[in-house]
Structure formats: structure tokens, C-alpha cells
């Protein structure tokens, strides 16, 4: 694996008696699209906030782009684009004025390139045609796009996005996914947190799962979704198949059979050779949902009584 963009060791944050982030050892290699999953209140946002120096860790350490955070924030953050806890803007100003002021507020970049930087960022997120309306008149989706434009303003090496598709319609979500994949292809590491499994499944190459403040799992999506050693097939004559595959069938739901084995082609040939028609056949893979449900608790928005 190549160098790491984010490394944390024993990173912990307490708010009073609540442990929001509990000894997290996270490693995000350069060039990946990393998805941070977890139920509400599992500490995803607090973790992102610590990486950005907004929240100070109680103990442990974090390194971003090779420099310790938050000590070297002034050197690290200009190379990081962030969307934290939803977009925010000065509501009485236009989107363009917001980006210009934000650009002017921090270091780096020449003044005369500002207009170009702002226009490019707006174009990338599909807001090139915005007028002088103040941001408070924007829809949720437009605000979200503006927030992402602000994150892209400085051509960052690392994008830290918290729920980037919040408020976007299906077309907007699709555009955003294409945009993030395109940015990733040019070398930007993308880290996004989400509670939407499908979102992460469709976009990310590596997944971290948080539960009750702990990072309970971090792995490549491909290996999480490795075949389970079972094959699922659909047939109009399940009884014939059941008789033929006696002992290998693990489960049956109407015309859907789950069979032990690694090679669907071999199984297909066997069934068709014996005159059993097959309408669908594939390796069984664990869905990300199953993986997540497997390793996480109920989240903190559920309070059940103990009887």
C-alpha cells in the first residue's frame, strides 16, 4: 500500500462523561475513496472534526498529509477541502460572493486568479449559471452544491466530506458521484462519511465502520464483499434441482436455492446437463448492509427498556 494520507493512533475524544470517539486507529492510504460508515452518533463527525482541528482530541494523535494535527493546521489545511456537518454560508450574500470572501479569508492563491478559481469551482458542481440571489434563497440542493464548491476551491489533495449528497435529488447524487470519481482519478484522496450504505457501496473503494465511538472495521470494499462460498440460483423446477444436488443445498425459498460451492459455471453445467433449467445463477456475496449490521450495535437514537 502507498503512503498514508490520514493516520490516527488511539485518537479519543470525551465530551464530559460521553466518549464520542474511543481509541480510533485509522489509516487512509493515498488515492483511495474511503467511506466512513456508522449509525447516527457513532462518532463519525467528531472524528472528522478532530482531523480538521475543529475539535481537540482528549488523547491520542492524528496525522494528516504527513503532518501532525492540529499543531500543523496552517500547513495541512490549505491542501484539504472539507464539508462538515452540512454546508454553511453567509445567507445575505450571493453564492459567488461567499466563495470570493472565503477565498480571500485564507492564505495562498493570487488575488487576480480569484475570479477564475471561483468560476471553476462553481462550474464543477453545476452552479456556473447562478445569479446574484442571496444564499438564503437557495434550495437545500443548491446549498449542498455550493458547500462542495467551497471544498474544491483550492484544488485540495484530500477531500473530507461529511454526508456530501445530503439534500441532493437522484440526478444530483449521480453527478456528485461522477465528480468525486473524476477528482479521485486525478489523485485526490476522497474521505466521506455517510449513513447511506448504498452511497458508500457505489462510490468507495475502502470502508471504515464506526460504532459507539470505536472503529470496528476498516477494509477494502472488495474483500468485505468477497464471495461467501455459496451460490444462489433460481430455477422453475426447484424440486428436480433439490433431488439432483442432494446435500449441497443449504436453503430454499420457493424457486430460489442457496447451494454450497465456488464455481457457478460448473454448477450451471451440471444442472442444465441433467435437464434442470436455470434462470439466474451467481456467487453469493455479503452486502455491505449485512457487514454493517454484523459489526454495529443499534446506534444512539434507539433507547430500549430493559425488562
Amino acid at each position: 500500500m502507498s503512503e498514508s494520507v490520514i493516520t490516527t493512533t488511539g485518537l479519543t475524544k470525551r465530551f464530559g462523561r460521553v466518549v464520542a470517539v474511543d481509541h480510533v486507529d485509522l489509516d487512509v492510504p493515498a488515492g483511495v475513496r474511503f467511506g466512513l460508515l456508522g449509525p447516527n452518533g457513532s462518532g463519525k463527525t467528531t472524528l472528522v472534526r478532530m482531523l480538521l482541528g475543529l475539535v481537540h482530541a482528549t488523547s491520542g494523535s492524528a496525522t494528516v498529509l504527513g503532518e501532525p494535527m492540529p499543531r500543523r493546521a496552517a500547513a495541512v489545511l490549505p491542501q484539504v477541502g472539507a464539508l462538515v456537518e452540512g454546508p454553511a454560508a453567509w445567507g445575505h450574500l450571493s453564492g459567488r460572493a461567499n466563495l470570493r470572501l472565503l477565498d480571500a479569508a485564507g492564505p495562498g492563491g493570487r488575488r487576480r486568479d480569484r475570479r477564475r478559481r471561483v468560476d471553476e469551482a462553481l462550474e464543477r458542481v453545476g452552479l456556473a449559471g447562478i445569479d446574484r440571489r442571496p444564499v438564503k434563497a437557495y434550495s437545500l440542493g443548491m446549498r449542498q452544491r455550493l458547500g462542495i464548491a467551497a471544498a474544491l476551491l483550492r484544488a485540495p489533495r484530500l477531500l473530507l466530506l461529511d454526508e456530501p449528497t445530503n439534500g441532493l435529488d437522484p440526478r444530483g447524487i449521480h453527478e456528485m458521484r461522477d465528480l468525486l470519481v473524476a477528482l479521485n482519478a486525478t489523485g485526490t484522496t476522497v474521505v466521506l462519511s455517510s449513513h447511506l450504505l448504498t452511497e458508500v457501496e457505489a462510490l468507495c473503494t475502502r470502508v471504515g465502520i464506526m460504532d459507539a465511538g470505536r472503529l470496528v472495521l476498516a477494509d477494502d470494499l472488495a474483500s468485505l464483499r468477497a464471495p461467501t462460498g455459496r451460490i444462489r440460483l433460481r430455477t422453475p423446477s426447484p424440486d428436480a434441482a433439490l433431488a439432483l444436488l442432494d446435500g449441497r443445498v443449504e436453503a430454499r425459498e420457493a424457486d430460489l436455492l442457496t447451494v454450497r460451492g465456488d464455481d457457478p459455471a460448473e454448477l450451471n453445467a451440471l444442472l442444465v446437463g441433467a435437464g434442470v433449467p436455470v434462470t439466474a445463477i451467481d456467487r453469493e456475496r455479503r452486502s455491505l448492509e449485512e457487514v454493517v449490521l454484523d459489526v454495529t450495535g443499534s446506534g444512539n437514537d434507539r433507547f430500549e427498556g430493559h425488562r
Binding site: 447516527n40 482541528g53 456537518e85 454560508a89 479569508a105
Partner: protein
């Protein structure tokens, strides 16, 4: 960051509204005085009010005395209380900090913009009330003799140049007094995410200070009360100007600014910037 901050301040409707209201109060008083010609007797009513009927050029001094006790502190409290808390509750604070803008730099920018607000507020009141005063009451009887001069509190005539210099001194002094409140407001603004709470905190300081001022029991701390020296600028209109009270006032105000700003920095530099409580958002 400082230029960003100034642009942000100048494009807030609230700021312009504050300035407009500050200029409106003296104008209303001038109109009433000009139509009724009923000035309060000397010694009663606001400072200089009894004298403005005979010379409109004194009206800026009267106007400043009018807005100083309540109006000006309220506007400064509103604007400075909004400084950090406003950004925090709008969510723009986190985007400024990750831009990145250093936390000390952000506070300095806020202090500069509050200073600009107070200076412009006092200046605008002075300029509008000069225009309104001269329009309503005309130049005084000394104007023909002394070429536009006015009578000082001590009876001698001030030349226009002297008057301009003393007025400038007054504007600067009052802006500094208000900046004290501004620095306190910025400190309170780092303690809470509610701009309103911070503004009310500033007003609480003003009221407490004004309540302690006449108490003999508060003799020991009186010099250090922020409101104690607010009226020292009146001495600038004596002939020759008395500078002692003004000098003490400047020292006390600077002391307050340093302490309040230091407290704001100490609190803000290690503060966790977290979601605003009470607002339903997502994540934690």
C-alpha cells in the same frame, strides 16, 4: 481575513440599520427643539442641549451626549455579540477555521471590524448632527465675529480649527470607550453560540457598571468601571482643554480591551467547534 471581515460587516443590513437609528435620534431631537425653541434649562437635560439653540455647531457634542448612555452601547453590543457567536450559529465559523484562518487572526479581524463599526458610528453621528444642527439652528452669534468659531464651556471662543480638533478628539475617545464594550462583546461571543446572549451580556456589564458608579461603597473600584470615564470628553470642550480625566479614561479603556481580548483569545484558542446545540442537524 481583515478585509473579508470588513466586507462582511459592511454588507450586513443590521449594521446599516444601527447607524441609521443612531443618526435618527439626534435628528428627531433637533427637529423638536427647532420647532418649539424650548431648550432644557442649563444644568438639566443632556449636556450641551441648552446651548445648541444659540449655536448649531454645538449640536454634534449634544448629539453624542444623547446617544452615549444607551443607544450607542446597544448597537455595539449587538454587533460585537454577533462577532463569533453569529458565525458559529450560521456554521460559517468552521469553514473559516478550516480555510484555514488562524483563531487569533480571526479574533483580531473581529476586533478590527468592531473598531471600524464604533468609529464609523461615532463619526456618522457627528457629521449628520453637525449638518442637522447648522441647518436647524444656524451658526451662533460668535460666528460673524470669530469666523465660525463657537463658545467653549469656559466662555472663551474656539476657532474652527480648535473646534475640529476637539471634535476629532471626542470622536476618537468615544470610539475607544465603545471598543471596550466591543472587546467584552467579542469575549462573550466566544463563550456562547447565541449572538443574543452575548449582546445581553454586554448590556449587563454596562448596567452593572452604571449602577455601581454612584455608590460610595464602590469607591475603591470606581476608577476601573468602564462607564466611569465616558463623560470625560466634555472636558475637551473647556478652554484650555482638561486632559487628565481623558487620559485616565484612555488608560482604563485600553486596560479593559487588553483584558477582554486576552480572555477571548484564551477561551477561543482551545475551544471545540461543535454543532450548535438546539439545532437539529445530522451527525455528531
Amino acid at each position: 481575513m481583515i478585509s473579508t471581515e470588513l466586507v462582511l460587516m459592511l454588507r450586513k443590513r443590521r449594521v446599516w440599520l444601527c447607524w441609521a437609528l443612531l443618526c435618527l435620534l439626534p435628528t428627531v431631537v433637533a427637529v423638536l427643539l427647532a420647532t418649539t425653541r424650548l431648550a432644557p434649562p442649563p444644568g438639566r437635560g443632556g449636556a450641551f442641549l441648552s446651548a445648541v439653540l444659540s449655536d448649531g455647531q454645538l449640536f454634534p457634542a449634544a448629539a453624542l451626549a444623547l446617544v452615549l448612555p444607551v443607544f450607542l452601547p446597544i448597537t455595539v453590543a449587538i454587533v460585537s455579540g454577533d462577532a463569533v457567536a453569529g458565525e458559529a450559529s450560521a456554521g460559517t465559523l468552521r469553514y473559516l477555521l478550516v480555510r484555514p484562518v488562524g483563531r487569533l487572526k480571526l479574533l483580531v479581524a473581529k476586533l478590527v471590524s468592531v473598531a471600524a463599526f464604533t468609529l464609523l458610528a461615532v463619526l456618522l453621528v457627528t457629521v449628520t448632527s453637525y449638518i442637522v444642527g447648522v441647518a436647524a439652528f444656524g451658526f451662533g452669534p460668535d460666528a460673524e465675529l470669530g469666523g465660525g468659531g463657537i463658545t467653549s464651556l469656559s466662555g472663551a471662543t474656539l476657532t474652527p480649527l480648535e473646534l475640529a480638533g476637539r471634535t476629532a478628539g471626542t470622536v476618537g475617545y468615544l470610539a475607544l470607550c465603545m471598543l471596550t464594550l466591543g472587546a467584552v462583546g467579542i469575549f462573550f461571543s466566544t463563550l456562547t453560540d447565541s449572538p443574543l446572549a452575548a449582546a445581553l451580556g454586554v448590556l449587563a456589564v454596562v448596567v452593572t457598571s452604571a449602577a455601581l458608579q454612584p455608590l460610595d461603597a464602590a469607591e475603591a473600584v470606581r476608577t476601573f468601571l468602564p462607564t466611569q470615564h465616558w463623560l470625560a470628553w466634555i472636558d475637551l470642550f473647556r478652554d484650555p482643554p482638561l486632559l487628565d480625566a481623558v487620559r485616565t479614561g484612555v488608560e482604563v479603556q485600553l486596560g479593559w480591551i487588553v483584558v477582554a481580548f486576552g480572555a477571548a483569545w484564551a477561551n477561543f484558542t482551545t475551544k471545540d467547534v461543535r454543532p450548535v446545540s438546539g439545532v437539529i442537524g445530522h451527525g455528531q
